[in-house]
Symmetry: C2
């Protein structure tokens, strides 16, 4: 094994957030070739001695100015390894999905122009990043039906309409209001607060919060 040369190892991070009601993904603009100026997931090299999560944290900070702790949830997705995915040579990429609330992206000169883009209207992307995003989106669609993971995308207190609209944005289909509420409340994941959200000329909406802001797997699944 003395002549063994490993492929290059990279990480790529799909960070989802609900921006103006749309499921959106964080993209940077590549600073160098290949794909200079093209939008891409925040990603980069993984050196020996550093875990893939360490690499994700480092890259997220250096390219998008975001701390890993600003993500409420993160999980590993899949490792993309086709030999031709990087024109420079064989690069194997471990992908992650992160979820966050409305987040302030710093406007720093050192960063690679990080911005959120709605998933339903993505720009041209570098590498196989469309596939990675699509994989992440599929995973998220499943995950919100059998876990409480939406908490990671919502503010601490939210209305049931906001909650339903989060599901609708992710699943990209509309749901029946009465059935949604009945079912979600029967799962017992959220508690009603005594506060209301007032917003314009209509009845104020009761605010709810999740009992646990950590991953719970449901006994019966949703939708």
């Amino acid at each position: 094994m003395s002549v063994y040369t490993p492929p290059i190892l990279t990480v790529d991070n799909v960070v989802f957030s609900l921006i103006a009601g749309d499921l959106s993904v964080l993209l940077i603009e590549r600073a160098n070739d290949p794909f200079k100026g093209v939008r891409a997931l925040p990603g980069g090299y993984n050196a020996a001695g550093e875990t893939t999560m360490d690499a994700v944290a480092r890259v997220l900070k250096s390219k998008a100015g975001i701390n890993l702790s600003e993500l409420n949830y993160i999980e590993q997705l899949y490792t993309f390894d086709t030999v031709a995915r990087d024109p420079r040579g064989h690069a194997v990429s471990v992908s992650y999905m992160g979820l966050c609330r409305d987040i302030v992206i710093p406007l720093d000169k050192g960063l690679q122009n990080p911005q959120f883009f709605p998933v339903k209207n993505l720009p041209k992307l570098a590498y196989d990043h469309v596939d990675i995003i699509s994989y992440a989106h599929t995973r998220l669609c499943f995950k919100i039906t059998y876990t409480n993971v939406v908490w990671a995308l919502l503010p601490n207190m939210f209305t049931l309409t906001q909650l339903q609209s989060a599901y609708e944005s992710i699943l990209m289909k509309s749901l029946d209001k009465r059935n949604f509420r009945k079912k979600f409340l029967s799962l017992g994941l959220v508690v009603a607060s005594k506060e209301f959200f007032k917003d314009g000329a209509h009845r104020p909406a009761r605010l709810y919060k999740f009992k646990k802001q950590s991953l719970e797997v449901l006994s019966r699944s949703f939708d």
Copy 2:
């Protein structure tokens, strides 16, 4: 990036089979240190220019004498990357789960003593391979409830008792016979043949087969 050194990349393959009614996993015996003589998953280095699936195929053949094509199903599981998992240095391992029927393991001198071991009674294992097997088992438990993937573990023709027993071995719990049959048949994944399986002093059992021997995702899930 000229000083960039990637971690070593390896693959590990969890091959499940039902042996004498027990969910079992293929293990080899390590030929060299570290963990010389200890049981381990068939795994090994992944060189640049080769996909992880290529590496899985190569390793499976060279260490266990099995061709990738003898597996009816294979999927990538997860990438294990804790820095301390290999005492020799940082090694990132992409793990796979393969499923096969009763298979003939060659008794070849060049091989690393490949054998199937029941999951409920595993020997001491090298590295973090217990964790990898446990991850694979969990994945398989989920997968059999929302897909037709058991086909990959069963012979072409099988009785409903065999099918139920496959579910019971994997899920490690017993199921109600009438409910199991009613539900499984209502899914429409299998067709009854006109043949029967005779086996001792009792009523012969009708043989069934799967309509499709490829992955199908069910609309409603099972169990």
